[in-house]
Symmetry: C2
Subunit: 389 residues, 2 copies
């Protein structure tokens, strides 16, 4: 049975990349705002062949991921699953599913990711208002409650752990204030989940999202999402379909729920990875994990002080997962970061937005949150800074 | 420095999953509509620690992926990159970036994925019209040209390889017809890229998308996307921002292009995997790869005939990557599929939509497209069918 591609096809352009070498990846210690290093057991779990997204074995893994996510977030929301994209996709999923065009949305902005929430919410037709704090401070419950009364929003979006500033936003009491105004509460837990105490149901949070590659020590590309009963009730009563097919929770709940209706092909290997990351977290236990993050961070802060460096955020608001370190006067922040990467294989982050050039961002998250990494980093920083001051 | 999590925190709900076993994944031969098995070398490439999404080593990998995608699609579009999601996300990306609210969009529907294009396009505010062919047939250029003249759409969306039917849609001449009407041409190449001849520039296609886990033999979760100069010109002149932040090509081009502006964290390990999948394709060469797919498919079709089974699609339109096989009268299609999976570890797909219960869908794609798989499948089908007739 001789068959060839039809001779009427055009001539193939050979391009220039046929002789590319196999992949080489440098070994980095990822101590920036993310990705952090994945737990090697997570990488090993990812290292299986895919199976079908409707295979009974895969459906069982999905159920386990959902249960483990509920534990990690301390929620009983049935609609808790993993979005097939990075944290920003899960962020967009909360807004796309919570907002109907014309809704008033209030965003509490004290960093880069607050601004991103504003940008996204506008794309879904929201009438967006903002309240602000300087980059490096948290909102008080008073300020938030007053703003809720003033703006009467349908949705309040706020960041629990601002990756751009290293601030942890206290959330106790905010959920009750939102319910008093019939407002849905959306919370960004990208840099807190798996590293900082979170009690989603206790705090009466209606929608939340996170990412894989920070406190969970998973590979990036798959992201936790959850939606409580008040948000689901709004979803069920929408006047228009969700303005985003890929992230539509009304469709995805039929795949993650008992109906198992195909929506889109799942990122199967990343689901393996996430299941292992969450399993390891459950084995360690939430309380032990939170304490490990807090203790590693405090050890790092003490070491920074020994080097004469200052944390940007006051201790009461300081995240254990991500620390912003002020760049000393006269030091080129970017050059220091580049040298840490190239000479020491350590990645840290630079400042964003209002803090560009003013801080470095150091993440001690998940698998990476231990003293040996702190020692390695502090020694490398001391060496590099000695050449730059 | 003794520190504990504050004693005022709520009590942790332990959940029920702390003692979950490590991951076990069954070994499946994935001969359904996707995912297909990944090349083991692709899995091995994924099996590295992540590095940062702005690491110079990662930026070099991105450039290589872009170059390899251009070769694979036979395009010189600068705006060619990988979307951080599965094929449906890349599908949505083409529509989100091509459509402004109120645009007339024409969708050629001859299967399930045509309907999905309609659904997505409506969510972006398009005024959608459709033309139809029965599930299992292709459109003629005449029918398409007449429809373009009748509807005068701003965008025509059409599926090159309908995963629900196994039809390959001829595309030569359609790009010219679209340009004559000042219409953008969007083409779904999800089940053709890497397995079926595609000449995107020769065919004057303006936007296209695909997935990782079919003809490319990558893991699912990362998806090729490309946008030609006419589509970019429209993007630059939009009256409103793209109604999808995560997939906004106006933002992503600043990350994939020389500016390297952070947009969202990349799915780093999947990018490793995609680079390896595309590298292996380039080593094999497009022409050899297309011939391998055609020859394997024809071998399968001959074997089906020997079993007394019939292909649903006429040979002139039949895809080499995905074959729809008619279910004989009186046979329970689902039961056969289940038994192939459970007794033989072989996954094939069932029919969707108009073809539900009427066909099986068999994919012979990428790494899986070889005779040994065909032999294994035909033998298993013969055994299982003998018990069901």
């Amino acid at each position: 049975m001789a068959t060839t591609v039809s001779s009427s096809t055009p001539i193939i352009n050979p391009g220039s990349l046929q002789r590319l070498e196999p992949l080489q990846v440098p070994q980095r210690c990822l101590l920036g705002p993310g990705p952090s290093n994945a737990d090697p057991r997570v990488i090993a779990a990812m290292n299986h062949q895919p199976i079908g997204h409707l295979d009974p074995a895969y459906l069982a893994i999905m159920d386990e991921v959902q249960g483990l996510l509920r534990y990690t977030w301390q929620t009983e929301n049935p609609l808790t699953y993993a979005v097939a994209g990075t944290g920003s996709a899960a962020m967009e999923a909360t807004l796309a599913n919570a907002i109907e065009p014309g809704d008033r949305v209030l965003v509490a902005v004290n960093g880069y990711f607050g601004h991103r929430l504003v940008d996204m919410a506008r794309r879904y037709g929201a009438d967006v208002s903002t309240i602000h704090r300087p980059w490096g401070e948290a909102f008080s419950l008073d300020q938030l409650t007053t703003a809720l009364e003033q703006y009467q929003p349908a949705v309040l979006a706020i960041v629990h752990a601002e990756t751009s500033t290293g601030v942890c936003q206290p959330l106790a009491g905010l959920g009750a204030a939102c319910r008093a105004q019939d407002c849905l509460l959306v919370v960004d837990t990208v840099t807190s989940l798996g590293g900082v105490p979170i009690f989603l149901d206790e705090w009466q949070v209606d929608l939340a999202y996170s990412c894989g590659q920070k406190g969970l020590s998973c590979a990036p590309g798959i992201s936790p999402f959850t939606m409580g009963p008040r948000a689901v009730a709004k979803l069920e009563q929408r006047r228009q379909p969700v303005a985003n097919w890929y992230l539509d929770a009304a469709l995805l709940r039929k795949y993650w729920g008992p109906e198992r209706v195909y929506h889109h092909t799942a990122p199967v290997n990343l689901t393996y990875a996430l299941r292992e990351a969450l399993r390891l977290l459950a084995v360690e236990g939430l309380e032990a994990r939170w304490q490990r993050h807090q203790q590693t961070a405090e050890y790092f802060w003490a070491g920074l002080a020994d080097l004469g460096l200052t944390c940007h955020v006051a201790q009461e608001w300081r995240l254990p997962t991500l620390t912003t370190v002020r760049v000393p006067d006269g030091v080129d922040a970017k050059a220091v970061g580049r040298q840490l990467l190239m000479d020491h294989n350590i990645e840290i982050g630079g400042g964003l937005g209002d803090l560009a050039g003013k801080v470095w961002r150091v993440g001690l998250m998940g698998y990476n949150s231990h003293r040996a990494n702190v020692d390695t980093l502090l020694q490398a920083m001391a060496e590099v800074l000695a050449q730059h001051r």
